[in-house]
Amino acid sequence: MATIQDSETERDPRLTSDQCIKCQICTAYCPVARVTDRFPGPKFAGPDSQRLRFLPEPVLDLSVDFCINCKTCNLVCPSGVKPSDLNTLARANYVAARGQVPRNWLLGHAELLGRLGSAAAPLTNLVLRDRLVKAIMEKVMGISKERTFPAYARRTFARRFAGRKRGRLHGAGGDSVPSRPRQAAKARKVAYFAGCFANYNDLELGMAVVEVLEHNGCEVVVPPQVCCGLPLIANGEMAAARKNGEFNIKSLGKFAAAGYDIVFSSTSCGLTVRSDYQNLLGLEGAERIAARAYDISEYLLLLHDEGRLDLAFEPGESPLRLAYHAPCHLKAHGVGYPAVKLLQLIPGVEVTDLGKICCGIGGTYGFKKEKYQISMDIGQELFEAIRNSGVPLVASDCETCRIQIEHGVPEVHAVHPAILLREAYRRAEARGRANGRSAERYSQDKDK
């Protein structure tokens, strides 16, 4: 690669715009540009516009707001440009210059929503599902009435995990670094970053991740953690994101230093901590966390490669055909599709990779009124592929992808791969016990 990579470009991501040769590959791959004219494409909104943003009074163009932040452009660029990062920084500048809109502030502070939502659950869920409330939210806040917020659980995962472990609540803050390893010395130690979704909405996912890891001999702790900051970054709240990042780096850093691997069940949280902390936010100490950070499926596959993954999966009664959708942010991790390989280890499971670019949700993007249709138009290709495959079940590593899939194709269920792995282990245990209860269905688990 003949691009000039000097210390300056490494320090300032905006300077990667100089490396763009206008090949338009990013525009060809951009899921948004292909369905709407409101976003001119990553090249135009990114490196092209960046030249105007170097002016002392930069041109503020709101079109960057239509970037879905999938990071596909970063991935496909043959020249090392990060158009998505340029857009994100431009959006933050826009917000800084023109002020934040309440809707985006709220969606950015998704964790606050989670905290309030679970405190008032199940009332929150009833309210948020009410058609009138939705209509008002669309009118007043600009949150699409077509969308339903994921249901909030009454207890958080952190509390349930602490309660399960010690029979008592262990502060809201999570685990501290144990003074002495509880397991054998050679056991892998995992600090699990559950993320807001597993913590406030899908507790079963959090529990499944812990169960699968522990089943394979890992010692699992849940460090004190706050929202990774991705919704804040995506909504231009860089200062707040930086604050969250600093908290997490400090907290996770202690575990990393004590030899813990950091494992994420949300691809997007993982990507934020692994890459954005360093590249976008320039946070100190981020590289130490990044060096030990893994997506859960990536981690389990690593155990498998080391011959440490328990392969005694028990197949279900009938062969399970399922489709797999790879989230954009998983692709951005650059680790392949580890979940597909893992699921294929379960006897009787037949996995089809749907091979589509983007589901269209983009985290909070698809919840915004003016972007709802764009979001659904992007997802159309994926929805059709799912319908054509005729499967009842879609596996995907990202929570908002799963929300979008179930929204676009209501007749299918979407699950995290870890849920399916836990099922297979549980079936094996049940059979081992001979008199064990029949395997729970994932959907029941999920609805708890």
Binding site: A2, E8, Q19, I21, K22, F44, R51, L52, F54, L55
Partner: protein, 523 residues
């Protein structure tokens, strides 16, 4: 023989368009003749620096005084052509520090507002400045768009009734006895010659003024000094950066629109035509090295193009040949060795009537040169009207509405289709026919198409398509203009083919040769 005008002005650069407007405003019927396009010569091939005068203040205070005076006037009359970037003189070496007090005291004496600021402040304003700079002085330099300035002057001249003939070349002077009585011109397209009679001819052909004077049998002592400049892909600085030392090579960086320009070199060349001289390989690293003393980042920043212009420097015998500028002492008594402009009334100096040459000078002082030349011409014509160009603003050029939904033709420079079409109509409706092969270059000077990162990769074929679709250009002509345009873009890219720009050029070559099958054989 066609209509007799009072004055023919030769040359469509800043000086010629300035003179045409000045004369037209005084009520003198004027025809301007330009062999290529407005600002296609030296005017469009410079830094685009609106001098504060700081560059000349020590060696040539009179010129510096003119610069600061004109700087103030142009900010008033042409705000749409000027970006008030401000300027910094930065001292890097110990020698620069020794020069600094002389510089500051000369600024004070000349009345040039110069304010020393701390190095820390300078680095905060311009983070790419060398951390090794030792002192910084703020001056009222600015960045001026020379294309826009010339086009605005021509438009202003036209408003007052002047005729602007582009792509029309003067091939001879009409002489009657010892007087010049008009010009013989050839149109660029078919080469058809005709005579334009006039009572007076002003030679404002800049680097070509020696050739024009030669048509009257006059030999002018012009030194043609080529200056090479580099264009960076983005604004590596937002302030004009000058190396605080006696004027030298590669010591100015000017932010200009989306880009920054570093220059220049100074090499004597025998010919003014820009397709006759080249850019030497060694000039490029030389400029980068010189520039990196002020801002080390220039070594790694992407260079998208090199270009060169030829300054006409008058080194004739001052006593015999004419008189220099400098306002009040405009007569023969100014003996200072100056790089200022010169006005030669050929009746006084060579005994040839109705003929005047104005040459030398610089973009910043174009209006004053125009005023001085028009004064002499008016005196010879018996016109008493005084110059009004210092008080009346230039017509706006950016009148094109940019509707949001129009297709963007040039994505690097954000040129929408509506703007291209608007400009295209104006060029076609101009006084002289628009040669198809020059269309894209002429549009480039007016809209900035092809001047960005990709140097015409996408806007080239798109604009040719628009020309074919909306104007009367045939497919063959569209191909022709495209090939010409690409060839001209390539000329400036070739000297800077390394790193990202080499990759860019490879892509452009693949698009045009691989997909469109256009290469140099198309003509």
């Amino acid at each position: 023989m066609e209509k007799g005008e009072w004055v023919v002005v030769i040359g469509g650069g800043s000086t010629g368009t300035g003179i045409a407007r000045d004369l037209a405003m005084r009520g003198v019927p004027t025809t301007l003749i330009e062999m290529e396009d407005l600002a296609s010569g030296t005017t469009g091939r410079c830094h685009g620096l609106l001098h504060s005068g700081g560059r000349y203040v020590v060696a040539d205070p009179a010129t510096a005084r003119e610069c600061i005076e004109e700087n103030r006037i142009l900010r008033r009359i042409a705000p749409h052509c000027i970006e008030d970037t401000g300027g910094l003189f930065v001292a890097v070496t110990d020698e620069d520090l020794e020069y600094l007090p002389r510089f500051l005291s000369a600024c004070r004496k000349t009345g040039l507002p110069a304010e020393e600021i701390s190095v820390r402040e300078a680095l905060a304003i311009e983070p790419h400045l060398s951390p090794r700079i030792q002192a910084a002085v703020r001056v009222p330099d600015a960045s001026v768009d020379p294309f826009r300035l010339a086009v605005a002057n021509a438009a202003g001249a036209r408003e007052y009734g002047a005729e602007i003939l582009r792509h029309t070349k003067v091939v001879g002077l009409v002489k009657e006895g010892d007087a010049v009585a008009g010009v013989r011109v050839a149109e660029e397209g078919d080469g058809r010659e005709r005579v334009i009679r006039s009572r007076f001819v002003v030679n404002a052909a800049g680097a070509w003024s020696g050739k024009i004077a030669g048509m009257a049998g006059i030999s002018l002592e012009l030194v043609l000094s080529k200056g090479t400049l580099l264009i960076f892909n983005h604004r590596i600085v937002n302030t004009v950066i000058n190396h605080c030392h006696p004027a030298g090579d590669g010591d100015i960086i000017v932010p200009a629109g989306t880009v920054s320009i570093l220059g220049t070199t100074s090499v004597t060349v025998p010919e003014p035509d820009h397709d006759r001289y080249g850019i030497e390989d060694e000039e490029i690293p030389y400029l980068l090295e010189k520039g990196s003393a002020m801002a080390p980042f220039v070594r790694s920043a992407r260079v998208i193009r090199a270009f060169a212009g030829v300054r006409p420097l008058f080194e004739g015998d001052e006593e015999g040949q004419g008189h220099y500028g400098h306002g009040e002492h405009r007569e023969h008594d100014d003996r200072a060795v100056s790089r200022n402009y010169v006005i030669i009334d050929h009746e006084t100096v060579h005994g040839i009537k109705n003929f005047l040459t104005v040459t030398g000078g610089k973009l910043t002082t174009y209006r004053r040169m125009a005023e001085a030349a028009a004064d002499v011409a008016c005196a010879r014509l018996g016109v008493a009207a005084a110059c009004r160009t210092a008080g009346e603003g230039l017509p706006g050029v950016a009148s094109t509405e940019k509707p949001r939904n129009t297709f963007t033709i040039c994505e690097c420079e954000f040129v929408p289709r509506a703007e291209i079409q608007d400009r295209l109509e104006k060029l076609n409706a101009a006084d002289s026919p628009q040669p198809p092969q020059a269309l894209l270059a002429d549009l480039r000077r007016r809209t900035r198409i092809g001047m960005g990162t990709c140097q015409g990769a996408y806007c080239g074929y798109r604009t040719a398509g628009v020309a074919h679709e909306t104007a009367s250009f045939s497919a063959r002509e569209a191909n022709w203009m495209l090939a010409k345009f690409l060839q001209e873009r390539w000329k400036g890219t070739r000297p800077v083919l390394w790193g990202d720009q080499a990759r860019e050029a490879a892509l452009v070559a693949h698009i045009y040769r691989g997909i469109f099958n256009i290469d140099e054989k198309v003509q």
